[in-house]
Assembly symmetry: D2
Homo-oligomer: 345 residues x 4
Amino acid sequence: MVERADLSPDRRAFYERISPLHMAPLWETFHDLITKEPATPCVPCLWNYDQVRPHLLEAGSLITAKEAIRRVLVLENPALPGQSRITSSLYAGLQLVLPGEIAPAHRHSQSALRLIIEGAGAYTSVEGERAYMEKGDFIITGAWSWHDHGNDTGDPVVWLDGLDIPIVRLFDASFAENYREDIYPQSKPPGDNAARFGSNMLPVGYESPGRHSPLFRYPYARSREALEAMRDGQDWDPYHGLKMEFTNPVDGGPAMPTISTFIQLLPKGFTSRPYRATDGTVYTVIEGSGTTEIAGQTLSWTANDVFVVPSWLPHHHRAEDDSVLFLFSDRGIQQKLGLWRERKD
Amino acid sequence: MVERADLSPDRRAFYERISPLHMAPLWETFHDLITKEPATPCVPCLWNYDQVRPHLLEAGSLITAKEAIRRVLVLENPALPGQSRITSSLYAGLQLVLPGEIAPAHRHSQSALRLIIEGAGAYTSVEGERAYMEKGDFIITGAWSWHDHGNDTGDPVVWLDGLDIPIVRLFDASFAENYREDIYPQSKPPGDNAARFGSNMLPVGYESPGRHSPLFRYPYARSREALEAMRDGQDWDPYHGLKMEFTNPVDGGPAMPTISTFIQLLPKGFTSRPYRATDGTVYTVIEGSGTTEIAGQTLSWTANDVFVVPSWLPHHHRAEDDSVLFLFSDRGIQQKLGLWRERKD
Amino acid sequence: MVERADLSPDRRAFYERISPLHMAPLWETFHDLITKEPATPCVPCLWNYDQVRPHLLEAGSLITAKEAIRRVLVLENPALPGQSRITSSLYAGLQLVLPGEIAPAHRHSQSALRLIIEGAGAYTSVEGERAYMEKGDFIITGAWSWHDHGNDTGDPVVWLDGLDIPIVRLFDASFAENYREDIYPQSKPPGDNAARFGSNMLPVGYESPGRHSPLFRYPYARSREALEAMRDGQDWDPYHGLKMEFTNPVDGGPAMPTISTFIQLLPKGFTSRPYRATDGTVYTVIEGSGTTEIAGQTLSWTANDVFVVPSWLPHHHRAEDDSVLFLFSDRGIQQKLGLWRERKD
Amino acid sequence: MVERADLSPDRRAFYERISPLHMAPLWETFHDLITKEPATPCVPCLWNYDQVRPHLLEAGSLITAKEAIRRVLVLENPALPGQSRITSSLYAGLQLVLPGEIAPAHRHSQSALRLIIEGAGAYTSVEGERAYMEKGDFIITGAWSWHDHGNDTGDPVVWLDGLDIPIVRLFDASFAENYREDIYPQSKPPGDNAARFGSNMLPVGYESPGRHSPLFRYPYARSREALEAMRDGQDWDPYHGLKMEFTNPVDGGPAMPTISTFIQLLPKGFTSRPYRATDGTVYTVIEGSGTTEIAGQTLSWTANDVFVVPSWLPHHHRAEDDSVLFLFSDRGIQQKLGLWRERKD
């Protein structure tokens, strides 16, 4: 029901009459529903890894991986507490897997990405193929793919999870299923997907079962090498430095249908020009340090930090060292729907 | 913050420590975020036009079109009061334009459809071309298209509005702009879009400026005639009767990128088999009468009624008379994102 | 073997040595293989219907439809006698079906179009659905579709056939099969394809079995009406007058994958500006009269005439009366392959 | 004119009357134009490199690169002498570039591929970026890209050229232009294209200027490594062994719009099952040895040999050693046009 001090008695009575019929007056809410420019409720925020890490490890002693199913601390946008959202449409969390632990096999309609922050040598298995993960690696567990994780190393492993949970919820399209065993049986040798799909070739007549990339590990070593080779081109975009999008080799589109993923190199001393776009973006600093100014607020970041730049807030970066960042946002969906915009100042 | 009676002190203390850091324990909410099957909050609901119409007309005397901008009674899902949603992702409302009134010209990133319920001869103008609307006509005012409406007839005109407002809001991508005048100047003769785009031809080398159909009026007369002609084929789908999707002639895809639209003929006496799908759907009865049973609840409908079938609820229809219904849902987006599912029992 | 008067003995001997090894020197033919601009062997040509018609009817008495399989006089480009080509890549012919005759059912990988020139009421059957054809109608019998024709009227019927025979031959991809009976059994009522596919709607979930339009009759009445309605727009392209492409409702692309089809209105007194493009084009005059100047040669045409404008020859039209022409070319394939070019002078 | 001994006088006279009108009777040629199955004129053929090489080197002393423009011995299908075709639709030749020579910069609408057979370290430059080529590398000089070659090594370099010359000729769409200098100025460091386009990422918002892959060097080292890694999968297709298609990272489609390219690993002792398809295919043996039986004829091949398997001829391979072959054909175009077929026996 509309609550307004200056509401005339006639209108108030009318609103009370139509409310039980599940109707409401558009004219009272029009300007909230259709705004002149995006008016995201979200605010910028940074999670400093050094500050967050002890809590993550503490969670490790508080609850077992088995009981937790996934031992994750969700990163919530301060403006949306309790909603498990880092931007309006996306979810992010930090997952800890201790030595000897597994995250049991399941699948769900939500798509997930992992960006490895700490530790090397744990694995993610997708439909029976294991990928052993290094720091900075980008991993996809696509929608409805059986997946599980394990850490057979002697050290804790931490990664950032990114999921499209709010999107799937908006469409009321969530499905999930546990595998009958904790570990999905291995059916392909590790590295098969890189050879089969990541070498600028595809098996003749290949038809992808899903809309996500069949290549599910994008090694940091390879991406980092490519960024370094492109440096020579001195081809810096004034707004982005050097920014690449991870692609699905099957169609050249975004690696994941609901989450767009990027890697960005900002060379030491580079300051980007002010920029804004409608895709709220989550940044993970893989290496380097710098600051990002967002609508007047300055976030100082260093390696392993995670920060969020909400939709349509003007921002620019300044790299104090050579910096490499991993980004994810809903840009691809917005573009598919004709909604995406950017503004370069 | 998690509220649970059986929470151990250790965990409660931990949650309190991480909360100010904008973190939350996933394991407390996992099963709410990722459900085994869609768990829409929405419920079925029917708006009986005879019951609703007097209130609509009353709104006509309560507020001018000018003050209202758009004189609309929003149809809200009973489970989501105050949220301007009829399904989780879609908006619907009934708009009244009285004789002599106009709805001033504006444009916005939200896509809109109109389904004419009562009155003939009012117009919708899209980018300077007027379409005069008849009962049952389906009209598109695509994203970012200048549009205005006017009623130069002697009778009130009522239509159903369908918009993707919740979707645009999720992506924080709302833009809107008023035209400098109330009426956008006419630049093309009425009917041009039908000739140019709706005759199974396209201008040579035509490039569509937007992702919506350049054909913006789908006359009921034409659709009805096609349905009648197809009857002879006796090609009834046991789940749907005869169900057609309105298409964009530029690419054969949905007429609108964010809202899928359909017209459905259920012949007299037809009972459909139980069916469910992940796209919550809004039905408008253009002609006929019948019932729809949704998860045990029965809605009785007749011409001009509007009802909603939420995501994943099993339902079937029974036509008492030859019935034609207009449907809209988010099916197309779900399919683009690999999320859509149906189940035929 | 290279034949050239000024060939040195060394080179001649070398060419003779490599010839039995099935090798030849590129440098002798390079400029013939890769030309600075298209150097079509084809020349312009016009077939005047009044002049041609008696011969067509004479063929009617010389051979039965049954013996002929298809009683057609092939229109051959004068520069390519005996090759059954009207342009380098396309085939055209005039087919006569006398009262009471049928053209027996068969199918082949070659795609075919028909443009009705004389007579009304004969039918083309595609996969069991008959379309009764009027003058000016454009009919598709798509690749590998069972098709047959019949004339149950009292008058001869003549149409222009256009096929991609040379294209299929280049790719060595010809397949053909006769149906076990002369007439393919009727399985759908006439007009079903227009209702089901030609009304700006598609059956929900429709998946096209082939790459051609499922709409196989494009009635002249409908196209003519659309052209007339667009006249009001006064939107004449200086090079083309008003030129529309027939589209496949499934994807908005060309109605046929190998042959692009167009209808063009040139108003009385209109003279187009000089134009050239790489797609050699076959024109059929449905109504009107005028001239087309092609690289200095003038063709005078009137209703029912057929003429060909080869690739890359500059040409322009002059309409003496309101004229409507049907065009077909290989433009779509060229565009798919990145080969198509046009030049506007 | 039709020549047939048994032609009736009436018909002969008729044919003579219509011939000057550029018309011909379809019924005399129908079965040649539309065949039950593909009836390629082409025959199988093998070019043994050891046998061919001396002639190639001899060409090196007979004519300078400058005079020749491209010093190439064209491989002609024995059934089509003098036509510069290896299959009906494709061209192939062996090009020799001697130490110190260059092939001057030009561009043309024909697409070209190179498969390096002998020599390492020569370069191909595409639009100002040089790629230094190793044996087995696959290089693309896409349609209308400025390209030139040079050999700054001390040894001759030989590669196989594959072009779509017959296809471009069928469509009368040939354009060509020489650059004003012999060498196109270098504007990007070597290896840029691999970093920018070949690392499963694309520059954000990248729009490809052409329809070919922006990645123009596919190093054999990388492809060979991928094939070897996939061996472990033991995933041998009974018809093809292990066969991969080179893709365009921009859209996942064939690397070149008019020529499909493949790499195939046949392990030692492998015999493939009989197979046929409508795409006539040119094979280059990169390593290994074996035989291919084609419609009863057996070709014995070893490293560096080139052989052709025409359309629709049944064939199977037998590898005597681990063998890797590079293949090109028109499969992609046929698929785009709905013409491609295969048969597995």
